[in-house]
């Protein structure tokens, strides 16, 4: 009996040994989300990135949800590190968990990637990616400033934080360039997961005469589109190309390509992964852009305006225009 059990254990050990060896050919990747999927912007973009990795390289992927529960952040990272070779912390909320360095010391052989916030010099196995969202927001602000009829445009932000305000300063600067008299009103929903709140915020802005509203609030922004459809004003999407959600009211989207940045780092670790550094994904590298959906969708932004935006984009890339920022 004892012999039998020991044989079974021996075979099991061999099986697990070979199975881990097989999966170690391409590094496996886990994304640990501060909240959960389904926002059709920030978190879903990260998921798209690892889905592409899976399709292109057969990478083993894993998604861990933390549901905005602060007690889960460290546990989530730990789970990710146990299961996979590269752990991507998606969301500024992981700041404290990574800053303490405990996880980084516990798993020295694993690579950690911190998305949407910058932590430098915490060890050779942590790299941060921050995004120049102010540059893309500058361009959509310019579009909104040119297209507004009431002279007032709005933005619904997820919360009064540095990252969200980085969008807003860019948006305001762009609107000011397009139309110096343009007034920009801002509402904070204080929630990224409540579309009903987003709708209320958008309707409140609309009642103050805003006729174009930029959503910067993840899933809450779904309510902004709902309000735009109901009350008849224009909206601007965020993070991904959101125009497909409602092509009649969403005139353009500010793309912050979280998914592609994760894709590039994981697929070319030698080129991109530099431990202890902060990498800024910006317009020049193509991770920030303005998009207008596909050709078959109704286009509200005129071709002249689109070419003006393209010129501005080149000026930002060449450094001729420096967009204000709240970060650094």
């Amino acid at each position: 009996m004892k012999k039998c059990v020991s044989w079974i254990l021996f075979v099991l050990m061999l099986v697990t040994l070979f199975s881990t060896a097989a999966s170690a050919e391409t590094p496996s990747v886990a994304i640990v989300l501060a909240n959960t999927l389904g926002d059709r912007s920030f978190y879903d973009s990260a998921k798209e990135g690892i889905d592409r990795l899976e399709a292109d390289f057969g990478t083993v992927t894993k998604v861990i949800h933390c549901y905005e529960d602060a007690s889960q952040y460290e546990i989530g990272l730990d789970q990710g590190a146990q299961a996979c070779d590269i752990v991507v912390a998606v969301g500024w909320q992981f700041w404290d968990a990574l800053d303490s360095g405990v996880i980084l010391e516990d798993y020295p052989d694993k690579k950690f990637l911190f998305v949407d916030n910058g932590l430098a010099d915490r060890g050779d196995n942590l790299m941060s990616i921050v995004y120049a969202q102010n540059e893309g927001s500058f361009l959509v602000g310019y579009i909104a400033g040119k297209m507004t009829k009431t002279g007032k445009i709005g933005a619904v932000g997820g919360q009064d934080s540095d990252t969200i305000n980085d969008f807003i300063v860019g948006y305001k600067a762009g609107a000011a360039l397009a139309n110096p008299d343009c007034e920009v009103l801002v509402q904070y929903s204080n929630d990224y997961e409540d579309p009903a709140k987003g709708k209320e915020c958008a309707l409140a802005l609309h009642s103050m005469d805003c006729d174009i509203i930029f959503q910067i609030a993840g899933k809450t922004g779904e309510g902004v589109f709902e309000a735009a459809r109901e009350a008849g004003f224009y909206a601007i999407g965020v993070d991904g190309d959101q125009k497909y959600i409602n092509p009649d009211v969403i005139i353009c989207s500010m793309v912050k390509d979280v998914g592609r940045s994760i894709y590039e780092v994981v697929s070319h670790p030698d080129e991109y992964f530099k431990g202890g550094t902060i990498w800024k994904a910006d317009m020049a590298t193509g991770f920030i852009d303005v998009v207008y959906g596909t050709e078959d969708m109704p286009q509200q932004v005129s071709d002249e305006l689109k070419s003006e935006v393209e010129e501005l984009k080149q000026k930002i890339i060449s450094g001729e225009i420096v967009v204000p920022t709240t970060l650094e």
Partner: protein
Amino acid sequence: MNLGTIFSLSTLLNTVNTSTIVILAALGCLMTDQAGIMCIGIDGMIIIGAFAGAMGSWLCGSWVMGLVFALAAGLLSGLFYGVLVIRYHSDEFIIGVAFNLFAQALTTFLLRTLIGQSGSFHPTTGEVVKIPVLQLGRVGDTQVQISIMVLLAWFLVLAMWVFLYKTPQGFWLHASGEHPESLRSVGRSPEKQRYFASLGCGLLCTLAGAYLSMGYLSTFTENMSASKGYVAVACVIFGRSNPLIVFFATLLFGFIEAAGLRMQGFIDPTLTATFPYVGTILMMVFLALRQRTRRGHRAAK
């Protein structure tokens, strides 16, 4: 500070449209409170109603079927709560809290396994058909739009008041909470009244959820009730389960929230977010002071 933007028609419409969710849920909650088994599981019932409503509306392509799905889910939820609390004498608060957690997890699970989407529901074909909205013309720059569910909720408030205070059935319901023995002495079963209350609670709360996912919005997202059920419970306690007072309490809450949003231009936005909760605390303090003279919490006769 521009008071015009705070006390405007748009604020009023915003208040009316959003508070309808809380009104319907509070009506359900106050029925159970009258029967002496106050249900705080209504937040979970809202989520279940929202899920069932969105699914029904999408599958059948009709908002009526969405409501039917939601109400069917409401009956099941009410029965589930009733059986545990009435038949098996479980503690109603523990069951209520457990139900809220359960509903959140169940809808998340079903969305992921049945539909294969996580976080929120976005149909690839078809759409969630919305409950019709009445266009009442324009006043100034504001388009006046009211969902038929808003009118239904107001009608239900009046109907509930008439039922509770003007019909014998209403008195029986109240007696089953206040003094079950006396109800038994006239040959009526307090358990039946309680089952009636808990089924009614399930129906009204899932109606609130259906309005949220297919009236106010047209999608289902995980945990979309955003604790509105707890606001409803607070309103019921504040209004001592009198439908009319509860109704005004919910409107007041809705107004504080809508006005808070519009004050963000003048006051720090992190502060305005606390307004609804500060409002709750102030109301509770007011209630506590008033109740010093009237001993104990009892549903209003």
